[in-house]
């Protein structure tokens, strides 16, 4: 028992260092997802049919393939074929990000569809272009409504990021694995890794909860 504790205290700094890598992957992937997910959602709701089909195909592709297969496909296949020699870390960020675009776009799409679409007509009556109406009327509401779904997405991506260790990134799981191989204290070490993930999930979800309250508009919420 005492020995197990000693192994954990020895390994903790090393594993915690890995949480920086994990957080980096998650922030990057969530960033890419947000950056492209919003336009994809807008396209899926408002764009002409041809564009909608393209966006739909993208979402269909990235939601239909396991993330492990995507990682191998891009890291060993596509990126190499195109001549990019990017690091495992960036490959993980990009692949989880591209997949995030697909998932996040559906969160935003749901929020957009939950809004009364008469608002666009009202905006047109005021002389706004559709794009302007989407940007200043629809999105500010939809993004606020998306925060709960987005926080769910965060907790999923955080844990999915552990799979990046197959490419050779040294995030939380791979580091835990290495220490366990040297010390044979598998159970206490994986419990430690679980606790680190738990803390990261809790912190992120809390922060998003605070954001949700901060940006909420008085008298306006999903259930009013």
């Amino acid at each position: 028992m005492y020995e197990s504790l000693l192994v954990i205290t020895d390994a903790l700094p090393y594993i915690l260092e890995g949480s920086l890598v994990t957080v980096g992957i998650v922030l990057g992937a969530m960033g890419i997802g947000l950056f492209f997910g919003v336009p994809v959602a807008v396209i899926q709701v408002y764009a002409p049919k041809a564009l909608r089909l393209v966006a739909g195909a993208y979402v269909w592709f990235f939601r239909g393939i396991p993330v492990l297969v995507l990682l191998f496909l891009f890291y060993f296949g596509l990126f190499s074929l195109l001549g990019f020699n990017i690091s495992a870390f960036f490959a993980a960020v990009i692949v989880l990000g591209l997949r995030g675009v697909a998932y996040q776009s559906q969160i935003f799409r749901g929020s957009i569809l939950s809004l009364p679409q008469g608002q666009i007509k009202a905006a047109r009556a005021l002389g706004m272009s559709d794009l302007k109406a989407i940007q200043s009327i629809i999105l500010p509401q939809a993004l606020r409504l998306s925060i709960p779904g987005w926080s769910n997405e965060y907790s999923i991506v955080l844990k999915d990021s552990a799979i990046a260790f197959v490419l050779g990134t040294s995030e939380i799981m791979s580091r835990t694995h290495f220490v366990a191989s040297r010390t044979y204290e598998h159970l206490p070490l994986y419990l430690t890794a679980g606790a680190v993930f738990f803390a990261l999930t809790t912190m992120g979800v809390r922060a998003l909860r605070i954001l949700e309250k901060r940006v909420s508009l008085p008298g306006y919420s999903a259930h009013s």
Partner: protein
């Protein structure tokens, strides 16, 4: 809004270009399976360590190049080499005909035998594992996993193979009593015996194998450098020192 998008794009681009330009130095990257003590592992301070790691360090210094050890998953280590994510593999890799088709190997530097590991108090013998209705743990993607699978089919052995990410995980399951035995190289088996309540049962009929460093087939120059380095290292007193420090032979 649009400006934010533009700036983010620019930022992302810069980061990627930067990460590429650090590549150009004359540094060779050694991919290691850090779940393979005593040949390669991550030590207490979080640094790559082990027999192969220290040997590669010595060779790098002797032959005048920089080496960076990158721990990665064993399953993906040859794809990583072929995709040029790493430049060579000095990490207890057995020279096998299948691997030799895809990569080139240096001269052999170590001979290894494969053994069964069982619980300390187990009454099993090699024969009872091979012929009985037992469960046997192996590391996925290893030569012993391949050999056991093929031979079992040929000879009608009845054990069930369970696949693990690493030999230590298979040992952990032997200790847990979830599998009857685990097959692995003798060196990690000896490492396990030093740390866990298990014993080595002995070899099970597989021919001894030789370890070599793997490089891409087109990298003739690196292959020659590593070969020269290995020859010099094995004549140097440091070689014995390494063997005494990491005890890969016990």
């Amino acid at each position: 809004m649009r400006r934010i998008y533009f700036l983010l794009f620019l930022g992302l681009g810069l980061v990627m270009v930067n990460s590429q330009s650090t590549w150009a130095e004359k540094t060779y990257i050694n991919g290691i399976d850090a779940n393979f003590p005593p040949f390669a592992f991550v030590n207490k301070s979080g640094e790559p360590d082990g027999f192969d790691v220290k040997a590669a360090d010595w060779i790098a210094q002797e032959m005048g190049f920089e080496v960076e050890h990158r721990p990665m998953d064993w399953d993906g280590i040859i794809p990583n080499l072929l995709a040029k994510k790493i430049d060579f593999i000095a990490s207890g890799m057995s020279i096998t005909p299948e691997r030799d088709i895809k990569v080139d190997f240096t001269i052999p530097y170590w001979t290894i035998t494969q053994v069964f590991v069982v619980g300390e108090d187990s009454g099993l013998t090699v024969d009872s594992i091979l012929h009985g209705d037992k469960t046997l743990g192996v590391q996925r993607g290893t030569s012993e996993a391949e050999w056991l699978k093929e031979q079992a089919k040929e000879k009608g052995w009845k054990f069930t193979l369970r696949y693990y990410d690493s030999a230590p995980m298979a040992v952990a399951d032997v200790v847990n009593g979830r599998i009857d035995a685990a097959a692995m190289d003798d060196a990690p088996a000896a490492d396990a015996v030093r740390k866990r309540p298990v014993k080595i049962l002995g070899t099970f009929g597989m021919e001894p194998e030789k370890f070599g460093y793997a490089v891409r087939e087109e990298d003739d120059q690196l292959l020659q450098t590593l070969n020269d380095g290995l020859r010099r290292l094995m004549k140097d007193p440091y070689w014995q020192e390494l063997i005494e420090t990491y005890k890969p032979g016990e």
